[in-house]
């Protein structure tokens, strides 16, 4: 049967079994079939066009849809710039390797969240070392790089600066595939962060921890965990209770299940609440007296409707008893639902009448009637069930050894490996999100993903050299708390946004904290910490809100409002608004460059006669016709109009657009004076070399005399805080020289000088 190159098609052999002449023709046709390999240039070009089309939002793909600000790029720009930038296609010279392609979703976006992680997706494994060596971001930004398969995650260590054009560049020589193939051109990813005025960042607020419970009675040793009750009160699974006189509580529960509204299982064998010393499941009612719900528990959880609390208590025989009681503590004793001959290590509610629990090996479900159903059993070598996602649909299975635990879909038994996961895993209160520390990588890193999707996103961490533990997540998974142990062994409690990692609050702690818990709303954090007497106490703190946006001090609110409305109108090309906000001698239209992408107010201050002066940068993002950032510098003067209640722009002067010079730029200067001390906070767009900052900053008085000042650079906020003691009243001049350099060694783009006020 073999003929012409060994081709044999049994289907045609069968079809033409009785017609050999047709089989022969089939063989001829196949032998004559046209053979042509596609031109790789065509293949690359088409791919680029397709992805560009995708990025323009055709079809039903919301992910590809660009925001309204993207319109600034214009159709012609999309046609060229996106193809050249969004899709990065390269033909390798290596004879056996396929084309290297890469794509980044942020390319050409104009409103990227400054907290974003930048992803670059390659189509094949890449030489990670080579890429790490060559990758750069302008303005200079310190980043950590991580990989998920072929996807490169670029995480800014200190987040991106808002309202700033960025360019990620990977040179051609660094674009080396794992096979050794080298791309023939570089990757350039231009994008810009959200076009909002940059916020003067300050250090995240601290947390003020206080011991919970009016009597500070502590808990049973270092045992137990913490959880928040539906009413917001804090609950310890091993809390100690003392009466006011220092005696143990006397409320010995009965064995009756009478108060129970629905659990009907026999109460026989219900363990008493421990009367003394052994701990209880204690509700530290806010503003009230702590009370015991059940005996000390190895696990506890509230029902979704908040009516019940279930716990696993010691049965005295080496196992556990699952009990349930009313969450207000009014039902004593609790109702026994079932026993487990082995200790129960975790439980949660699947619904208001079903509890899912595990001893680490078997996952069972018990309903309020006491009926038990086995849902899943881990194989002998399959690790240990650690925690449940609230709702009981998913569980985290600890690895048998090392790292690489998995997310278990309890209903299907399907397991998804959580890359590098070990013991540090947390679920959101709604069970939808999992956050874990990747302990297989150095430095550690955090990942988060929806439990229903295998699309982990890395979370920015504050210190690449720290180790992380005690992850707690809020109800909807957008806020997390964790413990950060620095190389110096200093421990810090951190509350941060998820997935950006933006710190909301940070507090150094020395109490050997453990068992972190975050309230559903993320507004309270709790932990177990050892007090000065060596007693483990339940501690709690309010989580302050995010840093408030800066309001320039001393600037009348009406002037501030006009200033920002005017600049916004310039960016939008809104001539009507510009006209309405301008005085008769200020020609805003003639002084506003066209096609602006963004602007920011660097500084503003009140002159002696009440006129407000402002320094503004007007920016045109790169486009197909102009690949560099263009910038114009503008000064404005605002004064009250005839009504006296509204400010208008009375003077405007701007430079022509010019290519923005490389190197760091000042993006904001804010001043305040308190108790005779003036503080200037100078924000930069780049990560700076800290050692270069203080020597580059000078403050002059109105006579040009240098004032004594001290400067401290904060890498996280990219701000230099300049402090001048006993500054004279009136305007000061801030001078920053090109001795200031960024982390790449680039000098300040141009010498910077601005006047600042000293009003408090």
């Amino acid at each position: 049967m073999s003929w012409m190159g060994g081709w044999f098609d049994p289907e045609l052999e069968e079809l033409f079994r009785d017609e050999p002449e047709l089989m022969e023709t089939a063989q001829q046709v196949r032998a004559a079939r046209p053979q042509s390999e596609p031109d790789p240039r065509f293949q690359n070009r088409l791919r680029a066009q397709l992805i560009a089309e995708a990025s323009r939002g055709h079809g039903a793909r919301s992910w590809w849809r660009l925001g309204s600000t993207h319109a600034a790029w214009g159709g012609a720009i999309l046609g060229a710039a996106l193809i050249g930038a969004t899709v990065l296609t390269f033909v390798s010279n290596h004879p056996q390797d396929k084309t290297i392609t890469a794509i980044s979703a942020v390319t050409a976006e104009h409103a990227v969240d400054p907290n974003n992680v930048i992803q670059v997706k390659f189509n094949q494994p890449m030489n990670k070392t080579a890429i790490a060596k060559g990758l750069r971001i302008q303005p200079a930004t310190v980043v950590t790089l991580s990989w998920i398969g072929n996807n490169l995650e670029i995480t800014p260590v200190h987040h991106l600066t808002g309202n700033t054009p960025y360019t990620v560049t990977i040179p051609q020589s660094s674009l080396v595939a794992a096979t050794g193939a080298v791309a023939t051109t570089e990757i350039v990813i231009p994008f810009a962060t959200a076009p909002t005025p940059p916020v003067a960042r300050t250090a995240p607020p601290t947390l003020t921890l206080s011991t919970v419970g009016p009597q500070g009675t502590g808990i049973d040793g270092a045992n137990g965990t913490l959880l928040f009750a539906p009413d917001g009160s804090l609950v310890s699974t091993a809390g100690l209770l003392q009466t006011a006189a220092g005696t143990p509580p006397t409320a010995t529960p009965t064995q009756s299940a009478t108060p129970s509204p629905s659990p009907t299982a026999t109460p026989e064998g219900v363990p008493d609440n421990a009367p003394n010393g052994a701990g209880n499941l204690v509700d530290y009612a806010a503003g009230g007296k702590p009370f015991a719900l059940t005996a000390a528990a190895s696990a506890a959880a509230y029902s979704p409707n908040g009516t019940y609390v279930a716990s696993a208590v010691d049965d005295g025989k080496g196992g556990s008893t699952i009990v349930v009681t009313l969450s207000d503590g009014s039902q004593q004793p609790p109702t026994r639902l079932t026993d487990s001959s082995t200790p129960v290590t975790a439980l949660t509610w699947a619904s208001n009448d079903r509890i899912v629990y595990t001893d680490g090996t078997t996952i069972n479900e018990v309903d309020l009637s006491g009926k038990v159903t086995t849902l899943f059993t881990v194989s002998a070598s399959g690790g240990t069930v650690g925690t449940f996602a609230p709702g009981g649909s998913y569980a985290y299975v600890l690895p048998a050894s090392g790292t690489g635990g998995s997310l278990l879909d309890i209903a299907t038994g399907a397991e998804t490996v959580l890359q590098g996961s070990g013991t540090e895993v947390g679920f959101s209160g709604d069970g939808s999100t999992v956050l874990w520390a990747d302990q297989s990588a150095t430095p550690n890193r955090f990942w988060t993903e929806s439990v229903t999707q295998q699309a982990p996103v890395s979370m920015s961490l504050l210190n690449a050299n720290a180790t992380y533990s005690n992850i707690a997540v809020d109800q909807d998974g957008d806020e997390a708390a964790y413990l950060m142990t620095l190389p110096s062994n200093v421990e810090e409690l951190v509350v941060a946004e998820v997935p950006s990692g933006t710190p909301i609050a940070i507090e150094p702690v020395t109490s050997a904290p453990s068992a972190l818990a975050l309230s559903p709303g993320g507004d309270h954090i709790a932990l177990l910490g050892t007090d000065s007497n060596g007693i483990v106490q339940v501690q709690q703190a309010s989580v302050p809100g995010a840093t408030a946006a800066h309001v320039a001090p001393g600037i009348p609110a009406a002037a501030n409002s006009t200033l920002h409305a005017f600049v916004e109108a310039q960016v939008n090309g809104d001539l009507a608004t510009l006209g309405s906000l301008s005085g008769p001698n200020a020609n805003a239209a003639a002084n506003t460059p066209q096609n602006l992408s963004r602007a920011y107010v660097i500084s503003s201050y009140v002159e002696p006669k009440g006129v407000v002066s402002a320094s503004v940068e007007l920016i045109v993002d790169p486009n197909a016709g102009h690949t560099s950032v263009e910038v114009a510098s503008e000064t404005l003067a605002l004064a009250p109009d005839s009504s006296g209640s509204t400010y208008v722009v009375t003077r405007i002067a701007s430079t022509p657009l010019r290519n923005e010079a490389s190197g760091p730029h000042v993006v904001a200067v804010n001043s305040s004076t308190q108790s005779g001390q003036t503080t200037l906070v100078v924000s930069f767009d780049s990560d700076l070399n800290p050692a270069s900052v203080e020597g580059a900053v000078t403050v002059l008085d109105s006579n040009g005399a240098t004032l004594t000042s001290s400067t401290v650079y904060d890498a996280d906020s990219r701000t230099a805080t300049v402090t001048i003691a006993n500054a004279p009243a009136g305007a000061l001049t801030l001078d920053i020289s090109t001795a200031l350099i960024d982390v790449y060694g680039q000098t300040l783009a141009h010498p910077f000088q601005t006047e600042v006020g000293t009003s408090s």
């Binding site: 065509f42 293949q43 793909r61």
Partner: protein, 187 residues
């Protein structure tokens, strides 16, 4: 080469939201589709035009695509078949049976002529002259080595119907190559 079905289904779902996933599908199927199109058109420029059209159509329609148990490649081939037919309708006049027969040399065994590239082209020109459905079935079978069931998925026909198309197509090719004289012309 086909992707594992489960993975492919996931990839297609992602491609509805994720340009990178569509790029991955493209990377996997581009060569297959291009070669199929080229085998039908035998002209590089035309093949590139039609291949482009196929993938752009796929991109624009992928949001509505449902696997329905068929591999993604079947859908791409469907688009390809339609695009090729459109191309023929708009650009290529139908050549006559007479002209095909006129250039054939019935005395020469077909297999001896295959090594001749011009002859190879002529054989496939004969396929071009087949009715569209026969042409598609022949190309998918003999140009792409697809299974009858796969061809049925692409053309929306049963396996038996595909057999019939190929059978008729093969006779049509032989007629056009002059290997056999049409029955109606005998005697």
């Amino acid at each position: 080469m086909t992707l594992p079905r489960a993975y492919e289904d996931q990839l297609v779902e992602r491609a509805k939201q994720d340009a990178g996933a569509f790029g991955e599908l493209y990377d996997h199927y581009f060569g297959q589709i291009y070669r199929f199109v080229f085998s039908r058109l035998r002209d590089q420029e035309a093949a590139e035009d039609v291949t482009s059209e196929v993938f752009f159509k796929a991109l624009r329609a992928i949001g509505r695509y449902k696997p329905a148990g068929h591999p993604f490649s079947a859908w791409l081939y469907q688009i390809s078949v339609n695009a090729i037919n459109d191309h023929y309708r708009s650009r290529k006049p139908t050549s006559s049976l007479d002209s095909a027969v006129a250039v054939a040399d019935p005395a020469r065994p077909v297999d001896e002529r295959v090594v001749d590239s011009a002859e190879a082209a002529r054989i496939w020109e004969a396929i071009d002259d087949l009715p569209p459905q026969q042409r598609a079935a022949m190309t998918l079978k003999l140009g792409e080595d697809l299974k009858l069931a796969q061809i049925g998925e692409i053309l929306g026909k049963s396996e038996g119907a595909v057999k019939l198309l190929i059978h008729r197509g093969m006779i049509g090719v032989r007629l056009r190559l002059g290997v056999v004289v049409p029955i109606e012309e005998k005697g």
